[in-house]
Amino acid sequence: MATARPGWSRRAQYGLFFSFLAVIAGIIVGLILLALSLVAPSAFANVRGAALDVTGPIAGALHEVTATTSGVVTGAGNYWDAASQNAQLKRQNKAMLQRMVEARAIFQENLQLKATLQLREHERATIATGRIVGSSFNSPRRFAILSIGSGDGVRVGMPVRSADGLVGRIIDTGALASRVLLVSDRANIVPARLMRNGIPVIAQGRGDGTIDVRPLEVGRNPFKRGDIIITSGTGGLYPPLVPIGRVVKLDDDGAVALPVADPSTTSFAIVEAPFEPAAVAAESTATAPPGTP
């Protein structure tokens, strides 16, 4: 805007006045849009998707560069102290082979038990596989950008996992890219359980890259450092038995966990169909999930 007193020129005075009006109109329009996007999160799905399509491929292309550079650096590090690393890896490999044979035996036994119980198996439908190419880096929310979009069959609400563990769920889709609500976001609440003893817990993000885990039943704190938290499959969105986090710190009635699938080092992410689509659909018609912008 111009100076406080534009002089005697009528034209300059009007110009100043109208620019004030324009700014106030801008504030009002902004507030209305903000209210709309808070109340009806899906109202701007199309524009958001279009913006994702613009930035997604750029981030994807740059990601290749940074991945290569950091790969060269860490690759050089692997040669340091290679002899003792080799011996250690050989020892680990031997131990792993034994465990694998045990696991195969358990798997066989499990198949037989399931056959006798006549349990119905869900098939895990992989929709698409993509890369995590970016993230929200300056807000209290934790989002990541995934390099696949509705063109690959990705839809809002689908769970995202990597080979390591659970990443989050889709909240925005463009044709070429999509936005993921990470498990470390405050609005992402995952029904889970402790892998050690199967105690049901609730995992909620803390907004700073870690996860809060609380037992469903109040009482003794069931957590130990190093415990692995896995999804329980309750609610029907996330598939069961996917690792979420590893407990690193205990507090009075719960614990803080680090995500197993660190989005900054995860190379590939897999988008799956909701575990039990019928249950999810019934729930989303009853109440819209909170926290989706």
């Binding site: 805007m1 111009a2 406080a4 620019s19 004030f20 324009a22 700014v23 106030i24 109109a25 801008g26 504030i27 329009v29 902004g30 507030l31 209305i32 849009l33 903000l34 209210a35 996007s37 808070l38 701007f44 524009v47 958001r48 913006a51 613009v54 930035t55 750029i58 981030a59 994807g60 740059l62 990601h63 940074t66 995590i132 190419v133 970016g134 993230s135 929200s136 880096f137 300056n138 807000s139 209290p140 929310r141 934790r142 990541a144 925005d172 936005r179 976001d185 405050r186 803390r206 907004g207 700073d208 890259g209 995500p259 660190d262 989005p263 900054s264 909170p290 926290g291 989706t292 912008p293």
Partner: protein, 173 residues
């Protein structure tokens, strides 16, 4: 503040570049597009680059762009950074208005006053982001926003310096 005017170094035939009027808005959009960088942050401590560049221009000059441009620039920021649509539109327009009112009141300006003004605006931005996240039941305790706030405030002079260089270049000084 523009001290460049005190030391005339302009050579003959050198003037503002033909796109000078659009450079400020373009740098704001460019800063917003930093969100497209393949940075995966788990802590969220990176500054709000678009807003930093926006207030740097506005504190450097009273009229880097027509006042109503704040709304579309904010809209672009909302789209690319993933804020709820309307957040930056309202905040950036309100910033233009607030700084105009402040310009009428302040007797003098120097680097420290600008830094304090910038710090206050950044703090308001971070607090509002936290408040909006709270409306969506997605806000961490405010104490966890403090590192991001401190980083942004410390980065502000650097951004303001870069913008003053860009300003001198676009005007051919």
């Amino acid at each position: 503040m523009v001290r460049a005017a005190l030391t005339p170094t302009r050579r003959i035939g050198q003037g503002p570049s033909p796109i000078a009027a659009y450079v400020p808005a373009a740098t704001v959009v460019g800063a917003t597009l930093l969100a497209a960088l393949p940075i995966v942050s788990t802590s969220g401590w990176y500054p709000d680059f678009g807003y930093l560049v926006f207030i740097s221009w506005r504190l450097l000059r009273a009229d880097p762009w027509p006042a109503w441009w704040a709304a579309p620039l904010g809209f672009v920021n909302d789209l690319f950074t993933g804020y709820p649509i309307g957040f930056s539109i309202a905040l950036w327009s309100a910033t233009m208005l607030a700084l105009d009112l402040i310009d009428r009141r302040t007797m003098w300006r120097d680097y420290w006053v600008e830094w304090v003004l910038g710090a206050v605006l950044i703090a308001i931005d971070e607090w509002l982001q936290w408040r909006v996240a709270k409306l969506l039941d997605a806000a961490p305790p405010f104490a966890r926003m403090v590192p991001a706030l401190v980083i942004s405030i410390c980065l502000f002079p650097v951004i303001a310096w870069i913008i003053s260089r860009v300003d001198a270049r676009r005007l051919g000084r």
